[in-house]
Subunit: 344 residues, 2 copies
Amino acid sequence: MGKGKEITIYDLAKELKISVATVSRALADDPVVSKKTKKKIFELAEKVGYRTNHFARSLRTQETRTIGFMIHELNSNFANSVLLGVEKIATEAGYDLIIAHSSESYDKEVANARNLFNKRVDGLIASLSFDTKKFDHFKQFKEKGVPVIFFDRVEKNSQNTVVVIDNYKCGYEATQHLIQQDCKRIAHITSNLGRNVYADRYRGYKDALRDHQLKADDKLLIVDNLSEKAGIDAARQISALKPLPDGVFITNDFVAAAFIKTLKEEKINVPEDIAVVGFNNDAIAHLIEPGLSTINYPGIEMGEIAARTLINHIKGVSNLQQINTVIINSELVIRQSSLKKKTV
Amino acid sequence: MGKGKEITIYDLAKELKISVATVSRALADDPVVSKKTKKKIFELAEKVGYRTNHFARSLRTQETRTIGFMIHELNSNFANSVLLGVEKIATEAGYDLIIAHSSESYDKEVANARNLFNKRVDGLIASLSFDTKKFDHFKQFKEKGVPVIFFDRVEKNSQNTVVVIDNYKCGYEATQHLIQQDCKRIAHITSNLGRNVYADRYRGYKDALRDHQLKADDKLLIVDNLSEKAGIDAARQISALKPLPDGVFITNDFVAAAFIKTLKEEKINVPEDIAVVGFNNDAIAHLIEPGLSTINYPGIEMGEIAARTLINHIKGVSNLQQINTVIINSELVIRQSSLKKKTV
DNA sequence: CTGAAAGCGCTAACAT
DNA sequence: ATGTTAGCGCTTTCAG
């Protein structure tokens, strides 16, 4: 491959008749080097197209200046926002990103963890896949002293630093909002209750019902995989219930969109017959009709905070041990899909 | 950081009382090493948790086994699909991916190119940002013999290998379909006509009109930036025209969704008053009402082909010089939004 | 089939 | 403020 021979600091040193140490220091902007020599070195480097050999540096320093980003899926607004936030902070701090997504598969998550470990990332930011129950694949990082931060989908009761939203509160508020719209039979469509996010939202849902003297009904809880098909199936299932539920809290906007569309096809009106609240505030929420009420939370901020916290720890500015949980703000966004009472 | 000391091939060699050369060869699965020694080495490596030091290897071999992926945006179905395809092939071939997205900014694209160049990727797969007109930032790769493949948003009439769909044909067919639905005044909402994809679709649109004795009208061409706001603005603009257009071809599903929603708010019916065809077949296309007719094309396949072609070239299996253009299939998907004639 | 040894380009003691 | 030099862990001639 490489045609033009690669320039090294030795070439620069020879050309300027100085030592490689000075060149190395200048390039690292070490204040100990005089302005003059620095200037000469930078100019020559620029002129001859010198570029740092990162392998040589990493081999020497044992640092990669790379952080791993493990995500369960990359196809949602939320995931993209988090990535954007992480990327911004990482770039500013001079860190590279290796992105690995598990497609919601535990096996792939394990393989990704192994790969990132072998690539020797300086730190890891991760959201767990759908059905991850074991965490052995994160042990290797801890053993080598590589810091790990979890976000969104995290290990329950873990010793790790996590960045999350208050899923319990979100579940509670979504449900309470439906109750305030005079809903009496509220269904809940969600996913794997072993995963913290869904477990917490479910607790919020149940507590809101209880606090308003409504009782939970097992027939009104549907656990599926958040696919579009799950939304369609849920709609069929719900619309077949004898006393029709009058409200539904769905933990995903895409599922909610498919759900509403299917209800419409069966001539069930939203919100008149069934009021609906989704989750995530994906773009689709305000593009469908009726507009979908949902929970909004800032992915970008989540990513920024996770990245900043991690990098500060790597640089020794702060210590992860001291931070256990960071909670990001979230809010209920009310649109047409939940407004059963026309007065609000 | 690193607590447990890192194991190197020297440790393995010493433990087994053989030379590092043999260990290195065995780890590379060199057939010259005897099965027996290989077995011993693999077992020990596994047992003590040896992991390759990729920097040392790259420093030595001058290869990174990494390919760069430059994309204009990461927030669309399409972009995600391409990434999925690239990732699949790259992983299978043992290559890593560095992902860089330009947020549609030329300046960021240049910075990304520079970064990937400095990271010494073995090859590059790129889709150009919105307003990229100069291509100097790709020269450096060519000079060092690093192969580059463009996909989707490519340099027009370039000497590079490109993977694309037939945008001209897509534009032609979308427009023809509207004409067959008895549309006489067909508007076109698109983006920067300097970019190949939009230019080609526009040519298809114009040729279809001409071939059916309809004439293009400048007032019916709206060029904007594919944002949601662009869709809303376009709807306002179109709905204010004195003889209302009766058909619209929009080069992006999200814009089309916002467009249709805004029309509805103004009591203009789709498809009865205005028939609409979008582009991309994003999930939103079948979730809104009416379902959006659109152009479907397989991003995953595009990514797979781009990656496979690039990696084959890197490995010397084939030669990029011989391949100029790969065209991926695409098709019109007809849904309710364009069915003005109720008979089809 | 295996071993010895050079060297990839850089950083960081340790000098001066 | 600058220079000398060892060594990070690997691959790859060249020898045997």
